[in-house]
Amino acid sequence: MEKEKKDNTPKKIARRDVIKSLATVPLLGAVAYGVIKTRKNALLNRDISDVFHISSSDALFLQPKPDGRQIRLGLIGFGIRGNQLMRALGFAEPSYIDNLAEEKKNNPDDTRLDLFREQDNLNIVINGVCDIFDVYGEAAQRAGANINREGSNGKSGPVPKRYRTYQELLAADDIDAVVIAAPDHWHGTMAMDAARSGKHVYCEKPLTWTVPETYMLHQTIKETGAVFQLGHQGRQTACYQKAAEIIEKDLLGHVNLIEVCTNRNTPNGAWVYDIIEGSNPQTIDWKQFEGNKDRIKEYTDYMKSNGLERYMGPEERDQFSFERFFRWRCWWDYSTGLSGDLLTHEYDAVNQIMHLGIPASAASSGGVYFFKDGRTVPDVLQTTFEWPDRDVSMLYSATLASSRDRGKVFMGHDASMEVSNILSITADRNSERYAEKIKQGVISTDQPFFTYVPGQSKVDAVTSATELYFAQRGLLYTYVNGKRYDTTHLHLREWLECIRQGQTTSCNIDMAFDEAITAHMGTRAYLEGRTMYWDKDKKEIVRGEKA
């Protein structure tokens, strides 16, 4: 080395040096062999459009018109769901904003405050609120007045009027439309009264508590022409639109079994909600909570005439109870149980995707197997629905005491499709449609060959590694034109736009009727322990023989 340092003049290059220089170059040939072999696989034609052709369009949502008129809203019910709906409309209590700001301070990655503030302005005003619990009613007023989405130090707008009864709210002439988030046993009655008062209606699911009111509400909405939306915000899930297209194009082969599930494992998920401070017989109008007389009669008549008294009560209806007020979902006296609360979401998604309508039959089983807290509604429930005219069954399987996720799966002869916020399709190893692609190694049957990630995927091509990663990690949100949206916000927005533009909502009264009857069939099958049938011509639920 010393010698070299002194002598910097280029040396003469000997033959031996050339050989040494190029000694390792032949290895390139070996790498090239591997690369060529791999290249064949990498460039293997991943296009599957000859057997799997779907449109490249992203989901469509009814877009607001810029010059739409302002809609004046009234809110009935400001419990847990009422709060969520108000926030989806752009109105939150200042204390909620304070909390989000605090969370953001502690964790800069917490974007909830920004997302809420960036949520589109729906051009609405909250003119009236109604809740029979003072704490909720006053909170609803604070939320409705918070037009600038600010915390406690912010400047609020006019305070909406608080009505003690929903009838008074419906009589107000400065309200065009109402959002109903009362307990299940009030849905149908309030929706009917609202439509008859000339208000448009957004009603939380399930549509109804009793079967008779289902028909009356359907008729009332039809007669009054009110713009009605049932609160299945899943209607705004981008993947469901793609799923409907996949079914329509028969890309799964004949779908013969659908499995939908509910899996929860927390007290909150099992409807054991907090008893709110400040609640007592003076701050809660129990008389109103009891329900509408006609509805109670329909319920009582049905239960008693079928020997189902054991599912009623057990406490008297006029006896004040904190549990029953805050955890009403646990008792048939106010609730529709798993069928109405959670099956309906699943069914509505399936109905949106496959347009199945009311099933020909329903059979249920289950029980109170975990939450032995005095509830009368089951915490484990299986209901099977049959559509023999479409040659398909749907199994709803639910538990409130295990959070093992089982997905929403459409099983076809050629492939199965799992749908959530993303959609993935796995070819069946015995598929005929995809047999050749499977043989060629283009489609693998071990993992999804197609994954639709809204706004990310290329259609008509085998799932890329990136999409698969997305799918596995669930790193996904619903985006519309590049902006992240909450489905409840989109669902309310659609309803408001339908009012402005005179269009029909996606979860309109006909869809809602299908939902309600289907849920009631499942509920009755459970309560009575026998299969329920749907008489299509008479439009009636017919009981089967007792098992």
Partner: protein, 166 residues
């Protein structure tokens, strides 16, 4: 050029260089030849103190195009450089930089869970870091000046090139 390596030292150092070069070259070529390949999902999955930076990078589609291009071709060129011994020390530095980025985006900390599960168990040191250390060894014990194109370059290029490049 003259060297002070024993025969077995030289042989094993050359083998180490070829192995790493082979690994980089093949990894790079596979990505170059796969038009759908992108580091996006990998970067989105980043954890640790630099994760915010990597996740932000992944969400910038324009930037990702350059990152993917740079990553693919850097792998290829580094691999080629090591394999044929051309600018081998520069390639070692380049390789170390790439591996450092991979490690910073997916640090092998306890409790870190990644999409692509590792095939072994790692704490602080993973295979990326072992390869990084091996490249450092190759940097301080250069062999391409003996077996490699650098043998020729060493003779024709000015002396200032010798320190970090060949």
């Amino acid at each position: 050029m003259e060297n002070n390596y024993s025969k077995s030292q030289l042989t094993l150092l050359v083998i180490l260089r070829l192995f790493i070069g082979w690994h980089f070259l093949y990894e790079g070529m596979v990505k170059v030849l796969n038009p759908g390949w992108s580091a996006k999902a990998y970067l989105m999955d980043s954890q640790g103190i630099f994760s915010r930076m990597f996740i932000d990078m992944s969400s910038n589609a324009g930037l990702m195009k350059y990152i993917d291009f740079l990553n693919e071709w850097a792998l290829v060129l580094i691999g080629l450089g090591l394999l044929i011994g051309c600018f081998a020390r520069l390639s070692s530095i380049g390789g170390m930089i790439l591996l450092l980025f991979y490690t910073l985006s997916h640090p092998p900390f306890l409790g870190a869970e990644y999409m692509m599960p590792l095939e072994g168990s790692y704490f602080l040191i993973d295979k990326n870091l072992v390869e990084l250390a091996a490249l450092a060894v190759l940097f301080v014990f250069p062999t391409a000046r003996i077996f490699g194109i650098d043998n020729l370059l060493y003779k024709v290029l000015p002396v200032s090139f010798r320190k970090f490049i060949i």
